[in-house]
């Protein structure tokens, strides 16, 4: 493999032997833990008396008596809530890199170079994010009009 052609510094690790020495002790502890747990269960199973009954299976002391299965079907309306939440929640990640650059540009007056040799300042960035928000607003208005925010 042409390692010199690769541009990532970590790439030569591909050729390196991984040292597993440090993991031996952890592996031993994990094995010991598993063996202890399994051993205790097996031992208990062998020595305990097996008497089954409704009283024996009932909830001990302070528990609540169960009713129904926890894995019930959810109302399908929750799907719409999930859908709207996902969209508007996740779109906001675009704000994060923008905020980093914008903060510096707005506070220090620094400009960012564009590929054609020019540069843009904070005002341009604000306008760009404004367009993004207008697009989000269009989606919001559409959903409002479609009554997606109504529970019934």
């Amino acid at each position: 493999m042409a390692a010199e052609g690769l541009r990532c510094s970590g790439m030569n690790l591909m050729l390196m032997q991984v040292d597993f020495g440090a993991w031996k002790a952890i592996g031993f502890v994990v094995a010991l833990a598993c063996a202890t747990a399994a051993g205790a269960l097996i031992l208990a199973h062998l020595v305990r008396p097996a008497k089954k009954g409704p009283v024996k299976d009932s909830i001990y002391e302070s528990g609540m008596p169960v009713f129904g299965d926890a894995r019930r079907r959810f109302n399908v309306r929750f799907y719409i809530v999930a859908m709207l939440f996902l969209l508007f929640d996740v779109e906001v990640v675009f704000l994060w890199p923008w905020a980093v650059v914008f903060y510096r540009a707005a506070t220090t007056g620094e400009t960012v170079a564009t590929p054609d040799g020019g540069s843009v300042g904070a005002g341009f960035m604000l306008g760009a994010m404004g367009i993004f928000f207008v697009l989000l607003l269009v989606g919001f208005a559409y959903e409002w009009r479609k009554d997606a925010f109504q529970w019934d």
């Binding site: 493999m1 052609g5 690769l6 541009r7 990532c8 054609d116 269009v138 559409y142």
Partner: protein, 518 residues
Amino acid sequence: MTLTEMLMPVAPELTLLIGVCAVFLLGVSKRPAVRSAIAPLTLVILLGSLVATAMCSDLDASGLVGLAFDELTGYVRWITLAMGVLLLLVNWRVPTDGEQGEYFGLMLCSIAGVLLTASANDLVVLFFAIELVSVPTYVMVALSRTDQRASEAALKYFFLGALSAAVMVYGFSFLYGLAGTTTMMASGGDSLQATFAEVGAINAFAVVGLLLAMAGLSFKVAVVPFHAYAPDVYEGAASPLTGLLGFLPKLAGFVALIRLLTVCHWALPDSLMWMMWIMAVATMIFGNVLALLQTNVKRILAYSSISHSGYMMIGLLVGPVLGEGPMHDGVAAVLFYIVIYGLMNLGAFAVLSGLNVRGEAAETLDDLAGLSRRAPMMAIAMAVCAFSLMGFPPTAGFLGKVYIFSSAFSLSDAHPFHGPLVTLAVIGVINSAIGAVYYLRIAGYCFLREPGDGLKRVGGVMPGLGLAVCSLAMIVLFIRPTDLVNRAKSATASVGSSVVTRVAVAGAETPPSDTRPQ
């Protein structure tokens, strides 16, 4: 550079974007008059985008990150928007009242995605553009009909499509790891193309990345073994929409494949070349043989769509060969063929959507029986499209096949892939003959069978107009293909600029340093 100058090159895309917002917002209007004006408005937006394409001939993208414009972009813009108008005409009456906004808005999104695919110069932009083509189509499948089959088709299409997109972008991540940048081509500085010139495509990361990216894109163009969704989705979606599904994702997939292959200088490692070769053979044979077994016309056309992808793979394997006529350029042949395919496929589905049998949309061969007695013009249009799909003169499908198959002979004898490509062309010709059986069967049912009861012509002026243009175009493009061929040829010039050496040094194992651009 002012903002206007900066945005001028993307004016067609911007027109579509503003149009999408307008169409979506008008679609939720409570007034029926506004809702019924949406389809004409969409037509105006598409025509506006065509005007913008004609106006922004000065394609200076220096102010835009991740986009680049060349002749291929221009070609794809023209054919996508022109086909978009036809797709709109055929789909004019598909959405139920109250869903026109969503349906046509999503159609515009998909068209904008194809335009962006053709101008993407960054892996991220390319990925997003392809998703912009596909994601709206998943929703449109669910919107196009109200029955269970449409929902199932949408679900199936979505999950397989999402998986393929994920696999593709996983491949992109390795290409990024190789180059350290997501820029595909740059005149100076770091880019994927420069990296490939430096290290060649035999690098482990390059092979894994290209393999996964090509696998993901193979889904979009429905190539075996990524074809499984096509028959079910085509059957489940409404017929007019199926014409769209057979064109937009396929075009985007092939354009993206052409861009990726340009980035690696059309010098794939032998293993990947053979993989594509095997996929092309399997696609042609699977598509044609399975189509023989179907009785549902939509499923027949779905398998035929798969086999046509196989034919186009041949052109992709040949790649651009410069300095010769239009008959000897694989990429130009693909670019020409995909337009022809889009037209004839849309025409065939437009016929199906224009017919009702006892209140249900026509689907099976029996539904078409005796069409020539009930609706002679529809039967003639169907026959023209079937003959064109078969590749029979005097239709443009014949020219498309001739260009594709003859391009396979254009590599020099000494080139290591000369022999396999000739074999591939022969397999392609044999498959065309197999394909003739089921296309003739469709035409035969239309003309030779006694009509069943309940066959009725439905639809309106607009879908009929779309169908007429599709079938007339098949004849016109056969008589006068020159303009389209020349445009396809000049579009190839931009992706072929890095392979001038391809024919000259063919034969010897091309050393990576020789494939460096310029």
